[in-house]
Amino acid sequence: MVWFSLLYWVWIILGGILIGAGVHFIPVGGAPAAMSQATGVGTGTTMLAAASGLTGLIGAGSAYASSGGNFAYTIVMGGVSAALMISVLAFIANVMYVYGAGVPLASAKVKYDPITKWRQDLYVSRGTEGHGTPMSSFISGIIGAFLAGVGGALVYFALAASYAGISGFNATFGGYPAPYYVSLAAAFAIGIFFLNCVMASYNIGGTIEGFHDPKFRRLPKSIVASLVVSAVGGLFALLIVVMLPGGI
């Protein structure tokens, strides 16, 4: 009987935990931030995760294909691509907040920015929870997206390496360059990415400013949830290898 590699399962679980932990670093502002009434990028976790996670996946996937399955290259490219996407997102949003909405970038959760040591509370408009993405949230977002991108790349790598062994999965659809196993691994990596990032965003109640936010202390609960959710999701995904001993 064909069995899946236990190491790959561990990678998927580790990847899931990294994705969940990464979300805690990302400045998610939600709907209030879209009206520049809260700190963070003005959209929900699902959209931010889709933006940076999918960019990370594209980076990881292209690195995997061009390096012939090099582990370190795939993982680092996943992290860097996601971090790049979140910094572009936060930067462009900041330009709009400052020059469009006319609000200073400030955090309402801390009196002094932990990185720049600049005063924050004076610049928070009355009745709001801060505006835009100030320095520490920005740096926190880059760290978080890197972690989540690395996590997503780990999941993708484990799945792609597992499925590459199934006979018949090296075929391609028509003139497409990507073989079957790449498509399946990418689709499942997106699924497992969403599972973990939504669980993490439930843990933070939808909004967080970054590592300096008090909500950041809820991280252990999210790690447990991510562990279980990605263990089950990863097991289901890897069981496909067991179920297709003769390929397709």
């Binding site: 939504v198 447990v224 949830a225 069981l239």
Partner: protein, 269 residues
């Protein structure tokens, strides 16, 4: 539950039975006649699953998830997608081709329960119906993915779905469009005046839009036979239910009470 509403159990039966019957009809009629004319049945089944899933989203999201309605839809589609492919692979392994949709549904329920338990017991979200709703939404999501995939590929054998839906990349379109069809209705209608009939009419309308996308994809795989019936039904369904939703909106909007004009400056002072 207000008068004239459909109960959760009624919708569960509509979703599960409708979804499964549609998928089976499409698969067996296509293979019996050796054509792809009947693919649209599977897409209709998926639309019924959207109908059920949208109500489950509506029930759980009305508690306020804190992260926006889309989150629960995307989570469940992620779970449903893994469950569907594993279900098809299990059926292929055990040589019970006919049972594939049912196995996928059961696997989706398992993964949904795990998600629900994690959300309620570990993350401690204060939503009493979390486990049940997550299970229902994951099951609906698996039927949506399998329904649209069957409509595109013309059958639900693992190798067909793998080749024509996953390898061709349509799985991502099914994932996002199917998810949007399920989560958009409540996301658009939520608020104190939300009413099940209006939300579900919008759900059918978005379901038919998703069916239209599936029809276009089916055309790329199985040609006119699959595309034309699916797309014609989708367009008519969309127009009918969008007009019903529009009528419901106007009806409900008339019940909004006027608060009067803003007081004049001198009156305030």
């Amino acid at each position: 539950m207000a008068e004239g509403e459909r109960s959760p159990r009624q919708l569960l039966v509509i979703g599960v039975v409708g979804g499964l019957v549609g998928i089976y009809l499409a698969n067996y009629l296509n293979s019996m006649t050796n054509t792809a004319w009947f693919s649209f049945f599977a897409a209709l089944g998926a639309v019924l699953a959207v109908f059920w899933g949208a109500d489950a989203v509506r029930r759980v999201a009305s508690y306020g998830l804190g992260t926006g309605v889309p989150s629960i839809g995307m989570l469940s589609l992620g779970a449903g997608q893994v469950a569907v492919l594993l279900g098809l692979a299990v059926a292929m392994n055990l040589k019970v081709h006919w049972a594939a949709p049912i196995i996928a549904l059961i696997l989706a329920a398992i993964i949904g329960i795990v998600n629900g338990v994690m959300a309620r017991r570990v993350i401690k979200m204060n939503i009493a119906i979390m486990e049940m709703s997550m299970t229902e939404i994951a099951m609906a999501a698996s039927l949506i993915i399998l329904g649209f995939s069957t409509a595109i590929a013309g059958g639900f054998a693992f190798d067909l779905i793998m080749k024509y839906v996953v390898a061709s990349g349509f799985i991502i379109a099914v994932f996002i469009v199917g998810g949007m069809a399920m989560l958009h209705p409540f996301n658009a209608c939520l608020g104190p005046d939300e009413r099940q009939k209006r939300t579900l009419n919008l759900a059918l309308s978005t379901g038919f839009i998703a069916m239209l996308v599936a029809g276009i994809a089916a055309g790329a795989i199985n040609g006119i036979q699959a595309a034309v019936p699916t797309m014609i039904i989708a367009i008519f369904g969309w127009i009918i239910y969008y007009l019903r939703f529009f009528a419901d909106t106007k009806e409900d909007a008339a019940a909004v009470l006027s608060t009067g004009l803003l007081p004049k400056e001198e009156e305030v002072a």
